[in-house]
Structures are given as C-alpha cells and as structure tokens.
Symmetry: C2
Subunit: 175 residues, 2 copies
C-alpha cells in the first residue's frame, strides 16, 4: 500500500476511536497499523489497530473495523484472546454448529477460505473469549466497530490464515 493511502486509512481509523471516546496519544495515532492482508481490497477485507502493550505474557490492543469490513479467518497456535465490543457491532464467527440465517457472508470471491459459521453478535459491552487453535473471523455491522482485545502475547507473524494468499504484515511503499 502507498504511504499516502496508508495515512488516509489511519486518519479514518481515528474517527472511529473518537466515536468510541477512546483517547490515544499523538504517537499512538501515528503508529496505527492498517492491515489489508495483502489482498488489496481494504474496505472489504482489512483491520486497523493500536497495540497498547505486548510483552512476553500480556497483550492489549484496540481494533477498528470499517462498516462491513471483514477480518479474515485465522487461528493462533498459542494465543488466547478476548474481544470486547466498545462501539458499533461486530459479528464473530467461530467453530461450532453453523448458525442459520447468518447476518454476514464471507467477502465475495473468497468464500472457499471461510469454513466456520457459528455466529456471535457483539454489541457494546459484550465480549467473547477465543482459546488457542480455534478458527475465527469477524465482520463489522453498518456503523463499523471498535473492539478491545485482551490476550496473551501476540506474534502476528505466526497467525495461521485459511487463505494462503494472505500476508499479515503490511508492506508500505513510498509514493
């Protein structure tokens, strides 16, 4: 992604933090991570985040999803994570009985990389804990979403995505 475009999505992300009344330092705002997962369609598949802390034992992040944006299906080998919705609405899909009449569909063209369909709806104040080695993906509702993540150490480079085309670590190019 071009640097100018990256900065545009960072600014957009800040708007959601403002809606959620989450205060960030200037340095945190400059360091907002914008992940398009290497798929080149960030408004459909992507995730924006601020990492507050990530030590050997504890990690806390704030995630932003734009309206209807999807974080693609993946699992973590070691990491346990709790998602707590702060603003908007997020539909979380995990292993288990597929929910009938689901609210979300996988991104168009990527259907074969989505395999778990047990739906959990998270509104502000709702949370859900995902244990290691559990496949999950999530999509925001029409207002977008801000979600706090509380977890053990994050090692994004070891996440296992169902879609082999995905590159988790963003590549930023000069304009």
């Amino acid at each position: 992604m071009k640097k100018s475009e990256y900065k545009k999505w960072q600014r957009k992300t800040c708007e959601y933090f403002e809606k959620a009344h989450i205060v960030l330092t200037e340095k945190e705002k400059e360091n907002i991570e914008v992940a398009d997962f290497g798929l080149g369609k960030i408004e459909k598949v992507g995730l924006q985040l601020v990492v507050y802390v990530n030590t050997e034992r504890v990690c806390a992040k704030e995630l932003v999803l734009f309206p209807f944006q999807t974080c693609p299906e993946h699992k973590h080998i070691e990491k346990e994570e709790t998602f707590r919705c702060r603003f908007g609405k997020v539909y979380l899909y995990v292993e288990g009985e597929p929910t009938a009449n689901r609210k979300c569909k996988p991104p168009e063209g990527d259907e074969k990389y989505y395999t778990v369909f047990h739906e959990i709806e998270l509104n502000p104040g709702d949370q859900y804990t995902i244990m290691p080695n559990t496949l999950h993906w999530f999509q925001a509702g029409e207002e977008g979403a801000v979600v706090s993540e509380f977890s053990t150490k994050s090692t994004d480079e070891t996440d296992i995505f169902s879609d082999p085309r995905i590159k988790r670590i963003p590549v930023i190019e000069d304009d």
Copy 2:
C-alpha cells in the same frame, strides 16, 4: 460494609464509567466490586472495579478511583500489570528514586505503610507497566479516575500489602 452502603458505592462507580463513556452490561454493573481494604474509610482508601476476564493466562479489568482516593501499597508475586488511564488523572508511585515535590501524600495515619515514592502521572491515553514483585500504590486527582488494567491472571488473595491490617476481599453484611 453494609449491603446498602455497598450498593451506594456501586452506583457512584457507574457515574465514573459514564463519564469515561465505558459501556457495561447490567450484570457487570450489579457485580461491580467495591474494596475498602477493611480499613473502613473508603472515600480515602479504596478501589472500585469490574473484572472483564480472568483466565489462567489473561486478566482485564476496569478500575475506578473516586477523587483523591488511594489504592494502598502492594505488590504481586506473579502478576504483571499495565495501567492505562481512560478518564481523569492518576498518580502512580513505584520503586525508584523518590520524586521531589510529589503531588500526593499517603492517607493520613497510614504513612508508615507507604515506602515507594517514584511518581508517574497518568492522564487519559497514558499507561505504565508494572512487573511482578514491584511495590506500587496510586491515588486519583480531583476528578477521580478510570483506569484499564491489562495483566496476567489475577489472584487478589495473594497480593501482598504493606499495611498488615488490610483485608483485600470485601466483606458484605446484610443491613
């Protein structure tokens, strides 16, 4: 503490969560923990909290301090914790060079149980990580404070307080 009084402080705590725009479920509001540490002067020494999650590996809480309220000096054997200020102001005191012209004093009469005086001021968006076995205490500014805590597993009953009179687990009596 009498149950009616406990409920009064729970309601007061909700006001601070509202100021910080933190959304809680009704069940979480009913389960707000009010700790007076057995000292019977909660407006001076106490802590109010909501535990979001506390598994074998991860804990996340939201803390409320009333104006000028102090959480007394203690340390944790195993637990690593990060405090992130969300609303108001909190002065955190940790081991290290005592700060000159400190903003807070220990609660009157309890001075001998306060031994660390390196001051860290946390305003909204500021955070600080405390590693295990590090003594610390904290006091809110004039507006009170709301502070997120991200940590490893909490086992409150194993916290070590400098003041031997302290009882960490609240005792609630019927009216």
